[in-house]
Symmetry: C2
Subunit: 115 residues, 2 copies
DNA sequence: TCAAGGCGCAACCTACTGGTTGCATAAAGG
DNA sequence: CCTTTATGCAACCAGTAGGTTGCGCCTTGA
């Protein structure tokens, strides 16, 4: 099923997905190896295959990985797009904050040094 | 104390902090209002003051907010810097992924059309 | 000085997340 | 056809994150 498959995904899913160290490691391995299965991933991680599978499910829901069935294997690979989206979301947020802070600062200056 | 106060903070703290909807809301209010106290925040949120305080502690640990004591009040305001840092971290990650994906693609092309 | 407002700390509760084991199912390959 | 290998599903377990209440301490301001 590969996630919700809609282009406009909520950035919070990505944040939640990235908030776990094992999931970050999974992504790192997937990026390094160019793809892997839950079984092969579990071999190099301190969790069982089922544990990895659950993490992959979370990553898939966030759209950060894509699943491709090949015979009896299911191969996963990373997708940078949702990451880029989340970055844009954060950029908007940070910019808003900065504007507010500037506004506050200006206000303070206006109060103390009023011409 | 205002967080760990070191310039190079792990981006994962920011991710964890941002992964919670209430914390995102807290940040939104702080940015909109230009600062607030745990008590005033709790008034507009579906949690108690103590709940808000815990969230503020998490945000503070991530460096996303700064606490300023004013008499018997503690006023919090947002700090965009860790957000920017986290974005840079994500950018590095996304870029890495994209490079790997390109490498894989090139490899596939090379295999089929070897000159 | 004393009441009220605002915080901080600690104990406690609950739900969910991360993890496991066990079994069923499906594709490869002899 | 039977064995092996890989995945999928479900039940179950433990730790912790998010939330609450209760209480004590410190400022403010009348």
């Amino acid at each position: 099923m590969t996630g919700t498959a809609d282009g406009e995904r909520a950035p919070e899913d990505v944040l939640v997905a990235l908030a776990d160290p094992i999931r970050r490691e999974v992504l790192a391995v997937l990026a390094r190896e160019g793809g892997a299965t839950s079984t092969s991933l579990a071999a190099g991680l301190p969790v069982t295959r089922q544990g990895v599978a659950k993490h992959l499910a979370v990553l898939d829901r966030a759209g950060l990985v894509r699943a491709h069935r090949a015979g009896r294997e299911v191969r996963y690979e990373v997708d940078p797009q949702p990451l880029r989206q989340a970055m844009r979301w954060m950029d908007t947020l940070a910019t808003q904050w900065e504007h507010r802070l500037d506004a506050i600062k200006d206000l303070a200056e206006g109060t103390t040094g009023e011409a």
